[in-house]
Symmetry: C2
Subunit: 209 residues, 2 copies
């Protein structure tokens, strides 16, 4: 899809640009130069220009960048112009927190099912999204085209459920389980390891980075 390979570091920065541009847009700022944005975001102007130029020339010499246009373009690059259907596997606190998070919905990530092993949750729903049992997952995925699965269950469960997901055409996994899933080449994963994040904070606290 892309010509050259974009580095991971750049991709990681894109959502942050997107957030700042969204804020500027709300403040009705029309144009911004790389150096203004660099002061705002605490990065170098050079980096901003380099990053953006990976995707083509969004700016204009002598003028800078049009905020609205750049916001939209980065949105497109991130795939936020599309909608995705999503399931959450694991209806614990974290799974329910994600299900309740309306902002995702607004960005086009539609949660259409939650799954758990706990029979007491069967039939319960969160924001009208039904909680189903994991043994119904295969059938559900057969009947509904799902793009993304969020895994908010213990590591062992995540390992078990992963092949079911990939066998039924899921292409992206948002993994909150404390494990590195072993998946086919063509499946993309984004890990969110909260305990590892907390350990990094603890490290910083002790070493005062």
């Amino acid at each position: 899809m892309e010509e050259r390979e974009i580095s991971k570091a750049v991709v990681k920065r894109l959502p942050r640009y997107y957030r700042y541009l969204g804020n500027l847009l709300e403040e009705k700022v029309e144009r911004i130069s790389s150096s203004e944005l660099s002061r705002l975001m605490n990065v170098t102007a050079s980096q901003i220009r380099q990053d953006l130029n990976n995707f083509g020339g969004f700016g204009q010499q002598g003028y800078g960048y049009n905020v609205k246009h750049l916001y939209k373009e980065i949105g497109k690059i991130l795939g936020l112009d599309k909608t995705y259907s999503m399931v959450i596997i694991g209806a614990g606190n974290l799974g329910q927190a994600l299900a309740n998070y309306v902002r995702f919905e607004k960005r086009g990530f539609r949660i259409i099912g939650i799954f758990d092993v706990n029979p007491r949750l069967s039939g319960v729903s969160v924001r009208r999204i039904p909680i189903m049992m994991i043994d119904e997952l295969g059938e559900f995925l057969g009947n509904n085209k799902i793009d993304i699965a969020a895994l908010t269950l213990p590591a062992s469960g995540a390992e078990e459920v992963a092949p079911i997901l990939t066998d039924h055409g899921i292409k992206a996994i948002w993994n909150f389980a404390h494990t590195d899933l072993h998946l086919p080449e063509d499946i993309v994963v984004e890990n969110v390891h909260l305990s590892e994040s907390l350990m990094q904070l603890s490290y910083k606290l002790n070493h005062m980075i």
Copy 2:
């Protein structure tokens, strides 16, 4: 505390080493070489040795690394040999999910208070941890030595509460709010931006990294 400055990239990898070593320990593995570990973790053996040597020689030529010893040492480096007291600001789904997450407790992160603005939550408690009102926060922090605050509330609230926290001696902030907090130099922050994480996944899905 440390002699040389450890790079961010290294610190980010430490918790992952810690996790793998913990797993090996459970499997009663006694020793491991950098090359075995490298195969397991999908990194180079060279990187493992380089990373560990930032903190001193934990291995032994011809033998490798003692799993238990290395696990403990990395734990110490991460500051997991200490205990921390923690408050959660924002008793929404995410805040409650963190409060309910017992594993943090086991690692020495003791949650002793949750705060919210919603008066209906006043007096309620989560796992015996009381939910208090944000206007009681200053007083509470005066009476209790708190090390870490987790911010699980909207961006605007996070910006407002940050100075209260830092004025009362909090040194570390685990920030889930969608904003880059502006904090004094000596305060450490670890950001968890879930929506940015989801956007990265969306990028990958569209560009098939």
